[in-house]
């Protein structure tokens, strides 16, 4: 089992559940944001779930000030979060002061608000894009390798959480398939493409269906995936 995955799930589990405000997905997202903030010593952390066309879905943040920063990028249509989503890569900005020309409206405004560094991580698995995780810091400087690894792992955990939605609100490191190396997951990714075609649904939904099946049957994701790829299991034959 990957150390970072174990650590990240322990950090999420240890994060207190807010006793006020609405429950459900937005609360889950906010809790993830506060856990990230604590783990990597951030000024604030935001998360935005986006539709594939980049039109806004919903956002959450560790605190109200960060929620305004999160909203600002979407209102302006520019910023690291937008770029990370469109380019499908992390956008790491250790010194916002150097990037004024890159985001001419966004960067000065955020900088004026005391933010000096922004790190945006796409919430994605291959072709399925769900949104972005943004980490804001009040001091310039790169994320350490460890902080970077934690952020990437938190982003993976956020993807798992978003796919599972309200059905399965508390995934653990063991059942999310993240513990395996990318290599071992090759079969899982192939199965995702196969189920997408079997059910004629978007890729993210195919991923959610495979996960739901694994939970329902209490079997590892990789085992379900291996059955799909070996054609021992087909999702279109047992639609209910």
């Amino acid at each position: 089992m990957d150390d970072y995955v174990t650590r990240v799930y322990a950090l999420i589990a240890a994060e207190p559940v807010a006793d006020r405000g609405p429950a459900g997905l937005s609360a889950t997202m906010r809790r993830l944001c506060t856990a990230v903030g604590r783990a990597v010593d951030a000024h604030g952390v935001g998360m935005t779930v986006m539709a594939p066309d980049g039109v806004r879905g919903m956002s959450a943040a560790s605190d109200p000030a960060t929620e305004r920063l999160e909203d600002l990028q979407l209102t302006l249509g520019e910023g690291p979060c937008i770029d990370a989503f469109e380019r499908r890569v992390p956008v790491l900005v250790p010194n916002l002061a150097d990037e004024m020309a890159r985001w001419p409206v966004y960067a000065p405004e955020v900088h004026a608000g005391g933010i000096r560094a922004v790190f945006a991580f796409p919430l994605q698995t291959g072709g399925a894009r769900l949104g972005v995780l943004d980490v804001f810091r009040g001091e310039p400087g790169s994320l350490s390798n460890e902080a970077l690894a934690l952020c990437l792992t938190f982003a993976d955990a956020a993807v798992a959480s978003l796919l599972d939605g309200e059905e399965h609100r508390h995934p653990t490191a063991a059942d999310d398939g993240l513990g395996d190396s990318l290599g071992v997951n090759t079969v899982l990714f192939q199965a995702q493409g196969m189920v997408m075609v079997q059910l004629k649904v978007p890729l993210a939904e195919a991923m959610a269906r495979i996960r739901a099946r694994a939970y329902a049957e209490n079997r590892p994701l990789t085992e379900i995936a291996a059955d799909v790829v070996a054609r021992r299991l087909s999702f279109d034959q047992d639609r209910q």
């Binding site: 970072y4 291959g126 072709g127 090759t186 990714f189 192939q190 493409g193 997408m196």
Partner: protein, 243 residues
């Protein structure tokens, strides 16, 4: 094995250096690199693994993407010549697989069962920076690399590494991280597309990959762009199946 011909080597070096000048897609670059090295080595399968941010090696590109080979590349995230070469920062060459069961109890027997006799791994590194590993399989005992071959391949791995890390020096340290993470995700997209095409056509994933590769060449669209279209846009998949 006969030594690699000088003009072939020169052409590959120029191509590698040339690719690294402009904007380029990392995974396309890795595919080109593995293809050219495989050509030079008389079609020995060549694969490339890169280290993710968590320090794990992940398969990224290969000259031959058969299921059997993918498993061998992937197994080395846990154990094998790639992991050793990556950790030591030194090439691991001419390992006789039939005598390596003690060193790599899982990897070596699998590689032998797949028909390989020797294996080589070359780190992609520059001083203390380590990006990943280049992996070469040989099917016969006669497939040993001589000293000259080893130098040529390690030099190619070095040129590729310098090119990638130089960009980091010129621009900022974060650029390479962004690119490597992008390449890891692109790899996932390719696997998802293989699955989609395999399902839609009722074929295996190996054959699906060949079809995707051919389609991408025919339409002069990059492999990753083609794969992304196939898994994100139903009309692209429909067009592919009709074509």
């Amino acid at each position: 094995m006969t030594a690699i011909s000088a003009d072939r080597v020169a052409r590959v070096f120029v191509e590698v250096a040339d690719t690294l000048v402009d904007e380029f897609d990392l995974i396309e670059f890795f595919h080109m690199l593995t293809d050219r090295i495989a050509d030079m080595l008389d079609e020995s399968p060549v694969g490339l693994l890169i280290a993710d941010q968590r320090g794990r090696l992940a398969f990224t590109a290969a000259s031959d993407e058969s299921v059997e080979l993918l498993e061998l590349f992937q197994a080395q995230a846990q154990e094998g010549p790639c992991l050793d070469a990556f950790r030591q920062g030194q090439p691991v060459v001419n390992e006789d697989l039939r005598a390596a069961a003690g060193r790599w109890p899982v990897f070596a027997p699998r590689a032998v069962a797949a028909g390989f006799r020797s294996v080589h791994a070359f780190p992609l590194r520059l001083r203390t920076e380590r990006i990943g590993v280049l992996n070469v399989f040989s099917a016969s005992v006669g497939g040993r690399l001589d000293g000259g071959d080893i130098q040529v391949i390690q030099a190619l791995a070095d040129v590729a590494s310098i090119g990638l890390l130089q960009e980091r020096a010129i621009r900022r340290g974060e650029i390479l991280t962004e690119q490597l993470q992008g390449a890891l995700n692109s790899r996932i997209i390719i696997e998802q597309a293989k699955g989609a095409v395999a399902q839609a056509r009722g074929i295996g994933v190996d054959e699906a990959f060949e079809l995707i590769r051919q389609y991408s060449r025919r339409n002069n669209v990059g492999l990753v762009d083609t794969a992304r279209g196939l898994v994100t846009d139903p009309s692209v998949l429909a067009g592919f199946l009709a074509g």
